[in-house]
Symmetry: C2
Subunit: 339 residues, 2 copies
C-alpha cells in the first residue's frame, strides 16, 4: 500500500479526491448576513415546518443531502459511505436524518470541527480505495443548541461579550475519485489541547491554541508557510479567537494575518447582527465552506485553501463539574489543481 502519511499528524493523499458537489442550507438570520447570496437554500422558517427544533435540524440535514445529491446528479444509492456528526446529544441530528436512506454511515463527534473531520475521513476513504463516492455532512441549529448547552430560549438569558451565536445551517459535500476538482490534497489530524480556559462562553479562547498547533504541525509536516495558501480559514473561533491565533503565530515570528480569516467572523455582520464574537456550531464552517469558499474556488478567486475545523469538546456536565474546555482542530488542504 502506498504511504499516505507525512510526518506524524498529516496525510498526503496519493490520489486526491475531487469535490463533485457541495450544498448549504441555512436559516433566516444566516440568510440576512454578508454571505446570503451564496447559500443553496435559505429558510425563512427556522423550524423548517417541523414540530421541534431537533426535528428542524434533521430536516435541514435532509435538505442539504438531497440538494448535494441533486447538484451531483446522484442518488442515495451512489454513495458508498457517508461521514456525519453534529452537536446534539448522541448526534441525533445526523442519525435521524440518515435512517432509512440505505447509505453506509459512519458517525463522528468532533463538535464544531465536524465538517473538516468528515471531509478528511471521506477523502481518506476514497484515496485509500475504500469508496468510489463518499459524502461528508453536518449541521447545527441555534435553537436546539441553545437549549441543550445554555438556557431555554424563553428564559431570555443575557449573553456575555465573548459568546458566539450558533449558526442554523447544514453543509454537505460529495467526493469522487475522479473529477475536475477542487481536490483534497492533504490533511492534518489534530491532538486534543486544553490550556485551562474554564469559561464555556469563551470558546474562541479555548480553541485558538488547538487551531495554532494544528496549523503549525501542517506547515511543519509539509514544509509550507502561510504564503503557500491563498486563504487559511478556521471555523469557528470568532473575533477573539481569531486575534489569538494571529498573536500565537506572531510570537513565532510568523505573520498570517493577511492570509487568514475565520468562518465565525465571515458569516454574520458582527456590527449589525448582534452576534457578539461571531458565529459558531458545526453548521458555521460547513456552510461557509460549502456556500462561499467553494464558490470562490470555482471562480478561481481562491486556488489554495487550508480549511481548519475547530471544536470545543466540552459538555454542560463537564462545565458544571468545574472542568476546562478541551479543543481540537483538523485541517484539510483544498486546491484547484491536483498538486
Amino acid at each position: 500500500m502506498t504511504t499516505q502519511h507525512r510526518g506524524r499528524q498529516s496525510i498526503c493523499f496519493a490520489s486526491p479526491p475531487s469535490i463533485k458537489a457541495a450544498a448549504s442550507v441555512v436559516g433566516k438570520k444566516e440568510g440576512e448576513g454578508p454571505l446570503k447570496t451564496y447559500f443553496d437554500l435559505v429558510s425563512q422558517d427556522t423550524k423548517f415546518a417541523q414540530s421541534s427544533w431537533e426535528k428542524a435540524e434533521n430536516q435541514m440535514q435532509k435538505l442539504a443531502l438531497q440538494t448535494v445529491l441533486k447538484k451531483a446528479s446522484l442518488t442515495n444509492q451512489d454513495l458508498d459511505v457517508i461521514f456525519s456528526g453534529d452537536l446534539l446529544n448522541q448526534c441525533i441530528g445526523s442519525n435521524f436524518s440518515l435512517r432509512g436512506t440505505g447509505i453506509p454511515a459512519l458517525g463522528l463527534y468532533g463538535a464544531c470541527s465536524t465538517m473538516a473531520e468528515s471531509l478528511l475521513m471521506a477523502s481518506a476513504a476514497i484515496s485509500g480505495g475504500y469508496a468510489a463516492c463518499a459524502a461528508a455532512l453536518t449541521s447545527s441549529h441555534f435553537a436546539s443548541s441553545e437549549r441543550q448547552y445554555r438556557f431555554p430560549l424563553g428564559y431570555g438569558g443575557q449573553r456575555t461579550p465573548t459568546a458566539q451565536w450558533t449558526v442554523t445551517g447544514s453543509g454537505a459535500i460529495v467526493l469522487q475519485a475522479e473529477g475536475r476538482g477542487p481536490y483534497i490534497t492533504g490533511a492534518t489530524v489534530g491532538t486534543i489541547v486544553d490550556k485551562g480556559i474554564k469559561d464555556a462562553n469563551n470558546m474562541g479562547a479555548a480553541m485558538a491554541p488547538a487551531a495554532y498547533e494544528t496549523i503549525r504541525a501542517h506547515f511543519d509536516d509539509f514544509s509550507l508557510a502561510p504564503e503557500d495558501y491563498d486563504l487559511i480559514v478556521t471555523g469557528d473561533l470568532g473575533k477573539l479567537g481569531k486575534e489569538l491565533v494571529i498573536e500565537l503565530f506572531r510570537r513565532d515570528g510568523v505573520s498570517i494575518a493577511s492570509r487568514y480569516d475565520d468562518c465565525g467572523t465571515m458569516i454574520y455582520d458582527l456590527k449589525k447582527q448582534d452576534v457578539h464574537c461571531g458565529g459558531s456550531g458545526c453548521g458555521c464552517s460547513a456552510v461557509v465552506l460549502c456556500g462561499f469558499l467553494l464558490r470562490q474556488m470555482a471562480l478561481r478567486k481562491l486556488n489554495r485553501v487550508l480549511f481548519c475545523g475547530t471544536g470545543a469538546l466540552l459538555s454542560p456536565v463537564s462545565t458544571q463539574q468545574g472542568e476546562s474546555v478541551p479543543s481540537v482542530c483538523h485541517a484539510v488542504s483544498i486546491r484547484s489543481e491536483r498538486s
Copy 2:
C-alpha cells in the same frame, strides 16, 4: 491505489493490520461475572478514586490506554492516530481522557457500536497507508449512563424486563501494519435501520434488525456463510435481541445459532447478576473483545471471528419527542491468519 472495497458496504483490507495488544478495564460487577479472569484490571471502586462518575469513566479510559500501550511496549508518541468515542453527551469520556496526550485524535459517535467502528477506522487508517500504528478506544460506565439516559441512581427506578445493564468498562486495541496477528481482514459498514421500536428500554429489539442487515450484507459481499466463522458475535443485543437475530436468519433459511453469541449475554451471569436482558454500553463489547475473545484467539480456540458492534442511536430527547430508535451495526472480521 489498490481497491479495498468489496460490494457497496464492505471493505477487504489489502494489507490486513495486526493486533499488537488489547487491554480491558472493568468495574466490580463485571469482575464478578463469568469472564472475570480475562480482564486486565478489575476495580473494586467503581468511582476509580474520582469525584464524579464522568471523571471515573475518564480515569477508566486512561487506564485502558496506559495498559494497552504497556502491553504493546509503546508510548503515546508511537501512536499515529487514535479513534475513540463513548456514550456521554459530547463524548466527554473520550475527549477528556485524551487531552494532553499529544496523540492525533479522531472522535467517533456510534453508541454501543463504537468498539467495532473504531477498530474498523483504525484498520482502514493502517491498510490505507495513513498510519503505521493506530489505536481504538471506548468506554461506558453504568452510573454515568444511567443518570444521563434514565434516572438518577438515588431514585431507585424499577427496570423493565427487556432492559439491559450498562457495563462499566473500557477497552483499547493497538494495531500495527506488521505483526503476528490476529489480523483485521475485512469489515462491513452498517446503514441506519429503524423498524419503529419506540421503547427505549428495549434496545435489543431495536438493534436486532440492524445486526441482521449488516451480517447479511457481510455474507453477501464476501460470499460467506455462518460456517465460515468460528464465532459471529454481536455486541450488545442482550438475550431478547440475540433471539431476534437468530429468528431473522431462520426466516432466510439460515441457521446461525450454533456459531452465534452476543457480548451482552456473555459478560454477566443472567440468572444471578440481576441484569435482566444482559449487558450493554460501548464498554460491553469492548471488554468482551479485548478481554475474552482476543484471549481465545491467542490460544487458537477461536480463529475466525466476526465482531459486530451494534448501536442504538437514540437520545433521551428523541424518546421524549415520541421518536423510535434508529440503530446501526458495523462488522469487523478478525482472523488468526492473514487470509
